[in-house]
Amino acid sequence: MAGATTTFRTKVVAPRRATAESPWIKGTLISILLLFFGFFLILPLYVVFHEAFSKGAGVFFKTFQDRATAHAIWLTLLTAAIAVPLNTVFGVAAAWALTRFQFRGRSLLISLIDLPLWVSPVIGGLIYVLVFGRQGWFGPWLFEHDIKIIFALPGIVLATTFVTFPFVARGLIPLMQAQGHKEEEAAMTLGANGWQIFWRVTVPKIKWGLLYGIILCNARAMGEFGAVSVVSGHIRNKTNTMPLHIEILYNEYQFAAAFAVASVLCVLALVTLIIKTYAEWQAERQLRAAAESVE
């Protein structure tokens, strides 16, 4: 009898958990995912760079010597340079207030921070036209005092700030909630004032989450089309940002130039992705450290 068992050959397979799908389903799902990825993410990215260089590197680089293009890039950088610091300060203040203080309407405020993410960016732009535009609430007053907001830099900055304001706060709120404020209290008992506590304890604690938020905010600020399109007026050399300029070039059949400018935005996105991934990884480490320190 004992010898009979040796006749069975068992094939060695990797152990499969009871909840795991069959290999066939697994294969199908992964293929769909890869196809989707390729078609919607990789292919467009490839097309952008391919088209940008379709007429050679000469045309590619000449695009950036064009005055209107250079101005669009400058305006985009300027807008981001104003909107991102504004939203950084706002985001830190909001996260601070919403995680440190208990007050009525707190959870409502936390959900309201996300509003710009739900609302179409066009509406974000339209709000400012309705408020500051020629026919808007403050329009006549602004006109009398010769202050231009719509179809000028202030409008572009306002619309960009509106669209990008959730990013910093959203990154920080879960982090600060998990960390609690024991370290800040300890610093306080050691004689540190509010300013010292903020810079020496809070900022180091949240720095990766903060960086993560700032980077996302910046990427969105430079790439924003809808909201800016409504308030900008598309005046070349004046109120044209990079995304708007791409559209104009494309509509004028300057495909290589349009894609060349687009490729700059793509490179920005890729750089953002790399820094974001690193910051995210570090932020998670901080979050884990916070979880461990309270065990």
Partner: protein
Amino acid sequence: MSIQIRNISKNFGKFAALKDVSFDVGSGELVALLGPSGSGKTTLLRVTAGLEFAEKGKILYGIKDVTERSAYQRKAGFVFQHYALFQHLNIFENVAFGLRVRKRSERPSEPQIRARVEQLLDTVQLREFAKRVPAQLSGGQRQRIAFARALAIEPEVLLLDEPFGALDAKVRKELRHWLRNFHDTTHLTSVFVTHDQEEAFEVADRVVIIDKGVVQQIGTPNEVRENPANRFVEEFLDLGRDSVPV
């Protein structure tokens, strides 16, 4: 320096955490605040440190009325249950923190800071850990660093919130003895919060038993053990006696 707690009342919303609490801690005394969880003992310690503010009553350090002062002006040494070390700073910088945040006119020089921190690290026998970060230390080591950090500012009173609460039984016992020895050599006025009566009786000169925000009894360990003031104290002590000694 003595601590005087005068008629302290504190509410959280409708919940009365402390009701008209008064007692004194003599200069150089080591007092335990003993009570079940939710009794208000930690709240009282935090009010004493200036981390919370009471609705009514006064706190005096010596003859100084500190009721309106916040924690950073009171500069009481405070030790937290979960250490609250600065995760991003190494052990040396954790201990040096209180010295570095002083006003320029009162800040010691770099060599003075170094000497002071090293002396404190010797006191807690962790000098060789100066360059490590808190995450690399065990619980008992972290709490010793938390002691050293609180002592760096040369506090006139030391307040400890369940200082051994997060540690395992063996380390707990060691640190308990260490605290008692430390107190015997420095006579730094100290108050520590605990829910463990054995710990309170073994370490403290006097015990303040609190329940439901009210002081139930104050006395030396022997007094309290031999003459429980009321039913609550009696039952609370009995409860502790039955449980497995820690």
